[in-house]
Amino acid sequence: MSAPGLTGLAEACREITAPGSDPELVAALVAWAVRPRRTLEGVRRALASDAGGGTPARRLRAHVLPHLDDDDAAHAAAVIARWVARGCQLSVVGDPGYPSRLAEGWPDTDGPVLLAASGQVPEDRPTVALVGSRRASSYGTGITAWLAEAAGEAGAHVISGGAVGIDAAAHRAAVHTSGGTSVVLACGHDVDYPRSHARPGGLFDGIRRAGGAVVSEQLPAVPPRAGVVRARNRIVAALADVVVVVEGGARSGALLTATAALERDRVLLAVPGDVRASGSVAPNRLLGEGAHPCTGPGDLLEHLDRLAHRAHLAGTGGVAASGTAAEVDRADPLSALPAPLHAALRAAWPRAVPVDVLLERVELDAGAALAALTRAQVAGEVAEGPEGVVLCRRPAAPQRLIS
């Protein structure tokens, strides 16, 4: 160790170092990253251009350690304390605690050098990333929930960015399934963005409790600037085996996720959308450029099934047992809704129906119909959004879309 201050820092880092990583190296990397004009991404580029041998950890150590002094250590201490407060664990690329999908091909691929996580991203199951815009339509969130739930119940892990809109729909639908879900933050761990998800008892807490992980490559307190969000999207793509773009505008970050997915040889799916809707520009363009169409969980599970994890899945009764969309269908649920209301919602699914339109179709008295909708909403059968009422789950076989 070149500077005595770093020895003390390594001691402090022991608490936040993931098993299998070296606290001393973590301390050195943090000390490097906190100083201006030095980035870990710069280190990665330097290593990528200089052909060397050895493990990533050994090469990082050789590159970083000689340049550090006590000043760096002093700056790093405060940052480390904030990670401690949040209960995060840091792992270095290539180490056992670091997601292996993200480390593939490093340093030629752009996996982060240091990853802070609370919880562990599971390595042992197929993983799908569901991505899309924050400003999502009910169609988008409906499809996302459908895909995420089916994938999660088939044992696949669902990754997304933790934002509102499509991301939130994916996490919510998958959080209580056997596959689980994890978040890649677009900010530091203690920034609490988006606030409604990060507050105690919010979505992120729920994900951690359910065994999922919340990860970020950023130092604490880094705000979700546009550049940081774009960088985050490459991690989402890298952590997944299959990436599905559900909704996004012409300049959506989902297109960057798609590009990152192709660079890493991930399977890219896109959900066809309404050609008139601005939110469908990104997936429809990707379909034109050769992405696989995703018309339901069947398509998604098929691609997951083809991947190398097939054997493992068969063993746990994962994808193979669940089969395609046709088999995921359950018996017609005991609906709290009067038959005509249920039929109207089923016919529209996954689109929302404005309440007024619904009332005109069913020819029920406004009061009685509203009462029934409340009952169904309390029972969790339907949800109401700005665009109207929508069934929360995919309706059963009789009215099924093509699968």
């Binding site: 309440v355 007024d356 009685a368 700005p386």
Partner: protein
Amino acid sequence: MGRPLAIVRGVALLGLTAREVRVEAASSPGLPLLRLVGLPDAAVREAGDRVRTAITRHGLRWPGERIVVNLAPADLPKAGSAFDLPLAVAILAATGQVPIAAAAACWACGELGLDGSVRPVAGQLPLVAGARQLGAERLLLPAAAASEAALVEGLELLPVADIGEVVELLGGRCAPRVVEPLPRQAGVTGPDLAEVRGQPVARRAVELAAAGGHHLLLSGPPGCGKSMLAARLPGLLPQLTTDEALEVAALHSLAGLRSPEQPLDLRPPLRSPHQVVSAAALVGGGSGVPRPGEVSLAHRGVLTLDELLEVPRAVLDALRQPLEQGEVVLTRSRARVSYPAKVLLVAATNPCPCGYLGDPRRACSCRPDRIERYRARLSGPLLDRLDLQVSLRPLDPDALVGAASGEASSVVATRVADARQRAAARWGGGTLNRDADPQGLRHATDRRALARLAGALHGVGGSARAFDRTLRVARTIADLGDDEVVRTVHVEEAVAYRLPATRGAA
């Protein structure tokens, strides 16, 4: 010792509350001078000059001695020009031009012109009503305001057109004029509900609002009919009784919005202040004795607030107390007044800053966090008080072209009147379901319905206040369906009017 003291009684208003003011005049040898004592404001102090000019120009005698006029009680602040007439009468009595006994049996209120004419003042109607309440039997008042005053029963009116007529009348040289009371203006006018196309949920909500007095929030993109629905609400309310109409007219008179010749309006008032309204204009205010604001001017009627979220937060919060208690209490350094404010609030808002969230034909251009912040401006406590929250959607073109199919206002008004009668019979004294006592409410509610309500509100994060308020809406729904017991379906429908915005704010 000079002549005996001359006394005439006048009325001072603190808000709608009348206080008796004894105007005492005494003349004594000295320089010809008028002194006014007893906390007069600038307008009352000027009365001296007006009265003096009016008396002399009218050929009556102004005394060549010192006159002191006391407005008792001396600690009560007096404002305005309504003391001109009692002042003049007291001076005329003190100088022997009218009999002291006749003056002492009279109350008087009115303003004098320099030519001696007697004119009505702002707040003439509450002055007359106040005099009656304080036990006045004979009242001298401007002839122009006599017909209006005749609406107040049990008062002998002495209408006078000028100061000369006062002398004739009190001297017993002529008989008082005969007064015809004002006509009452009734009948449903205004736009009809039949013209509103589609919007079944909003129509239902408007009917419930009319029947139970529940406050209404209409949210929807521009042009979907929010203002149309709000404008039709007063037409669904029952007509005011004469007493209620007098109370409303008194408030309008106090604000200077009513001329005495206007017929008494039995229709519930509709007030629609612009969204840049100030807190003082909305709930009342002003220096000295505060004047009634829009929320009091809409008393027993409808107050509409368009673009609710463009109204400053402080102004919205000022609305909370009047909505809850049905009256506004304004405290100033010189007076503490309360005005009644039993209004039905109809608020309208866009669903997001650009207005097009949820519109199928036009994309919303707002960022999600902006929408969240926009909705957060509806403070939780005010949102809780808006019992009926309805999202409106733009009409599709087919509905615009076809024939209007909705029920007419008169049909709905009949149902509303029936439901109101049921509520009034239950709670007594014309109480609306909105103001019903929570204990009594729970008593007549099905046990399963209560459990259902608790469960449903827990699911959407409602407060304890929301519980009782939702139950009141359910009571109105049951009343409209002529059901004595509040059942589960009533409760479920009531919760439906709370869901959209509650979730939006979460």
